[in-house]
Amino acid sequence: MQRKVSLFVPCFVDQLLPEVAVDTVKVLRRLGYAVDFPEAQTCCGQPAFNTGYWNDARPCAEHFVRVFKDAETVVCPSGSCVTMVRKFYADLLASSPLRSDASALCARTFELSEFLVKVAGITDARASFPHTVTYHASCHGTRELDIRDEPLQLLRKVEGLKLLAMQRFDECCGFGGTFAAKFADISAAMGGSKAESISATGAEFVTAIDPSCLLHLQGILGKRQARARAIHLASILAQERT
């Protein structure tokens, strides 16, 4: 029987960056997974939670738990959204009737690279991407979920890909959700420093496991007319080796 995963697509990926989710589906299917997309899903609740509106985040999180509670395994192309589920649902839903469903779901929810390497034991996604690439270690993936080497293991097995090391690769890019709007100048300055680190590598692409960082970085890099472009790990892995 084919192994099954349910796709958790972050709301902003659904609305603004659908390609990232399409590529995630391609990768998972190529590697032999049946992929299902529960269409009632909306958002994990992080925007409200991080802004302090826990009472507004809670019904949203409960909705998420209801949508996914029967899923065997949930896979998401975003470290940040997985962090919300795995690290913060316990606190947020501490007195919710869905508390035990939520804690069971946390253990079955994975970020894409983490799922491939740690759960499925796959490092070779049979991809080809003949370009120079540098890796940005996003904050939530790195420091909340402890996903450090998994994306690099996958990138090292991509045919033709040359990985270039970045100075301060794990320093925040400055996105930070509503931080980017509330403190736009600070966010842009941090993004500018990151863009300089990216440009200093000379790479054609910067990749990461978090589409939110990449959305922000693409905007900053574009404004500076930098050479490097932002690309999600899933979109690299989706380029099939022939």
Partner: protein, 472 residues
Amino acid sequence: MSATAAQRFLQEAAVKSADLVHREIIRRGMESYDAAHLKGRARIKDWEAAREKCQKIKREAINHLDRYLVQFEQQVIARGGHVFWAANGQEACSYVKDVATRRGVRTVVKSKSMVTEEIHLGPVLEEAGIKVWETDFGEFIVQLRNEPPYHIVTPCMHLNRRQIAELFREKLQTEIESDDPAYLMTVARRKLREAFFSAEMGISGANFLVADVGAIAISTNEGNGRLCTSLPRIHVVVTGIEKIIPHLEDLAVLWPVLATSGTGQGITTYSTLIGGARQPGEADGPEEFHVVLVDNGRSRLLADPEQREVLHCIRCGACLNICPVFRHIGGHTYGTTYPGPIGSVLTPHLGGIAEFKHLSYASSLCGACTSVCPVKIDLHHHLLQNRRNATSAGATKMSERLAFRAWRFAMVHPAIYAFGGWTMRKVLRAMYGLGLAGSIADPMRPWNRHRTPVPLASESFRARWRKELGAN
């Protein structure tokens, strides 16, 4: 109406984050710190174990603050010292001022202490006609500039040596022949020696209050701390109640961990333990010894089990140094005694959530601070709790509250969420087609001002799933 703390912060942040000269000075300072810190950590055999040990010590101390503080007090009194419990800054300042005026003090020498900054002790003494000398080199410099410290460990890291030479030339009325750091230090030292020999009172802080032996522990690098605490007739220690630790042997791990996190040193040049005034038969030391234990909002924090551990802080500055926000806006922008992550967590508790909640939002929640904190304070998650406390207290804007209420409604109704997303993309695409991206009319303006416009896919993923992907 004068600007609020939040407005001042935003204005200053806009200026500083665009100031590339400032960014470069801080970057260079921080890079040398990073290298030293990394090397220092490598010297400690098991850094994680050391952090856990420090966390345990401070947790024990804070959870039994009542017992350890009284034990400390009893020991100090037994050796003839005085202990004053100050509920707030005003009480602490009045006590020190009263001791000074009663004993005819005209000159005070101070070693570095953030608590005296917090309670604004210097201005209170100056108003009483007492001359106050900051004797830490960095503090001496910012005092001459009439500025608060820029950083809790390195107060003048925002200045280069040319600026310091210029400052000395202007303020010390001396011929300044060079901007060589060693020469500038000699100039300051000469000036400060006069102060040390004329002062009747020395004021210090304390890095730790050691309960079982009733001593204060001070870590310094310049020797000024020892002069302040041993030359003048009176020594006054002004410190926060959270500085207590249970046992003398706790310093075996706390001293090196503080030095490593603060500057990358194995241990600071001077590590001093002081138990009180000169005892019979001793050759030197002050005649009088006072300890002022400052609460100033700390017991309020102690009463909050969720955030009590914030009192573990040993003020090493590591969270400031690694913080990308601090690196881009600098210390003065915060407008608080304690800048950086620890300041953003602590200040709303000490100064009020309504006035200082913005600091808890001025973070990307990257967690770098938490990863380096030597006493393992969960700093960035405390920022989240502060944000929650701000919204529960009704301290956030009505427009934001309504926006999240609407958001919540959409998020539990998938059809409304999908329709909302579709409408937003349609409207923005039409606007951007007219060249309005980044204009006043653009709801995405804060984003688009600094970035190329957000991509607006013609179809959402869910629409594509239905059309092309779902059947597989």
